[in-house]
Symmetry: C2
Subunit: 328 residues, 2 copies
């Protein structure tokens, strides 16, 4: 793993862990690189760019930390597979949104068109399950079921988001359900897939994953309102332009009635930026951030009572705090 690309919170976790964690993260990175560059010229050119653009590798790190230092190579397979699914969804999301940039770089769809991007996403997705089927681990029903279940959730979340598009009447419950499907289930899967713990520990790790996943999404949605674009790699108000109603707007429309009467379909980029300013002016962004922080605290609080050992607790706490810090 090239640390120069890695954000400080992740580096800090790597520094805090003994050698096993950086070594395993490097093994995941090497395997990802091998899979992406060995998959034919189009994949190497397109997905290779996605890989080079990096990303936080939060999900593989969760897999490895939750699996613990005693886990075998099946945890590395699972960590690789989960990042491949994540990459596949990024590539397809960009097709759906016709997004020009991701992490400040041109998306696969922008570089190579919809057709290639759809196929690249399918390839990454297939590779994920191929990875789980390799020995050791050998595609245990548990691992395949967890990853496939999370993938079903991702697709259902995407469909729900399309169904809800441009509908200003969407409520907080429906929004959170979408976040659970689109974001939190893959975090939950990451916390469970690397190892088989006792039921009490599994329940705690699942809660941890869901809560930091929701916090992650809430803060991401705040960032879409506040920018700055050079940090997010996207223009402010991208969600609004896609017709995606998120928590900031859901809360803001209660105090600024003019927001309840928006016609999202008629917004242009300037209009979206102006709506973002009005959302921010209501003060709800701090409410959403506070909700995200509370979820992170909840996530951290369930670990000790379930008997998760101090070493994993320390690392998971740092990961959780990193989710907040990145967006603060």
């Amino acid at each position: 793993m090239n640390r120069s690309n890695v954000p400080p919170p992740v580096t800090r976790v790597l520094d805090a862990a003994e050698a096993w964690l950086p070594r395993r993260m490097a093994a995941v990175e090497a395997r990802l690189s091998e899979l992406l560059t060995g998959g034919g010229p189009t994949l190497a050119a397109e997905a290779g760019a996605t890989l080079a653009a990096g990303g936080k590798r939060l999900r593989p790190m969760l897999v490895l930390v939750c699996a613990g230092d005693q886990a075998g190579d099946e945890a590395i397979r699972a960590a690789t597979a989960i990042e491949l699914v994540h990459m596949a969804t990024l590539v397809h999301d960009d097709v759906l949104d016709a997004a020009p940039l991701r992490r400040g770089l041109p998306t696969v769809v922008a570089r190579a068109g919809r057709a290639t991007a759809t196929a690249v996403g399918d390839l990454l997705f297939s590779r994920a399950f191929a990875e789980l089927s390799r020995p050791p681990g050998n595609g245990s029903g548990r691992q395949v079921g967890l990853l496939a279940g999370a993938s079903v959730g991702l697709a259902k979340g995407e469909l729900a988001q399309r169904q809800d598009a441009f509908d200003l009447g969407i409520g907080a419950d429906r929004y959170l359900e979408r976040c659970r499907l689109k974001t939190a289930r893959l975090f939950e899967c990451a916390c469970l897939i690397g190892t088989e713990a006792d039921p009490r520990q599994e329940a705690a790790l699942a809660t941890f994953g869901v809560e930091i996943g929701l916090a992650f999404q809430l803060l991401d949605d705040v960032l879409d309102v506040t920018g700055p674009a050079q940090r997010t790699g996207k223009a402010v108000g991208t969600d609004l332009l896609d017709g995606t109603v998120t928590m900031p707007l859901i809360l803001a429309r209660a105090s600024d009635r003019s927001l309840a009467e928006l016609d999202l379909r008629s917004l242009d980029a300037d209009g979206a930026a102006e709506v973002c300013s009005r959302i921010a002016a209501t003060g709800v962004l701090e409410t959403v951030r506070a909700d995200a922080r509370a979820r992170v605290e909840h996530a951290k609080s369930v670990l000790a009572p379930a008997g998760i050992d101090a070493r994993r607790r320390q690392l998971l706490t740092m990961v959780a705090d990193g989710v907040v810090e990145r967006y603060s």
Copy 2:
């Protein structure tokens, strides 16, 4: 399975088999229906239509016949999973081709748009692996590896087709390699995934699957040249308009030099129909059909020497002949 929708060759196999095969095909159909109607309103509306449009269910039938009458419920799971992957690729292929019709009915992309169709394909794909992870079977590494490997092939084939698009210099070898990836690997997977045979039988079943898959694709490509549209559900020359160079054109350009100088990018529907007539006039379509028939004969010939029992041989022979008959 509603037999009124099923083409004669498939019905004939069902009639020839003892009760176990129709019973298991019905179980696959019921499970597909359950998965597609239980996946939320968008999936029910969109993929439900795909299911209702039917299709030959050739791949699940291959799974069940190759697995034999002694196979357990894991063969039904595998047959369901392989049809889900097939459906997912149809939905994504239609996105890639912006196809208006499939089996004479509007495609998901035509009904619901690219974004929904991409997500519906992802959902079907995820469901396939979720299905393999259910007990019994429990996502054996072998089954997951076979299906994931075939899915990797499908995506690589699609990428190769995009890369080759509008390139009249594509040769027969490259074309066949694409057919192997895009079509034959899923047939091969269908022949292997339902059961674990001895290595000699596995090799024969793999050859059988690859050869009838290639025959299927060759005849499909002939049909794109000859039509009629009411039979294929697509206009004649659709491949040409997509820039997809197939065997009929590869062979025809050798005897009709004007075909070697085509500008595929400038073709409209009338121009494509006219090129189809010129391809047919060279007489190569019979050459391609003969190649397909020879592959089907080869497929049938490898079964007995490998010790595939007479009962399965009879049914597989009928399936193989059905592939030819459908297009004759």
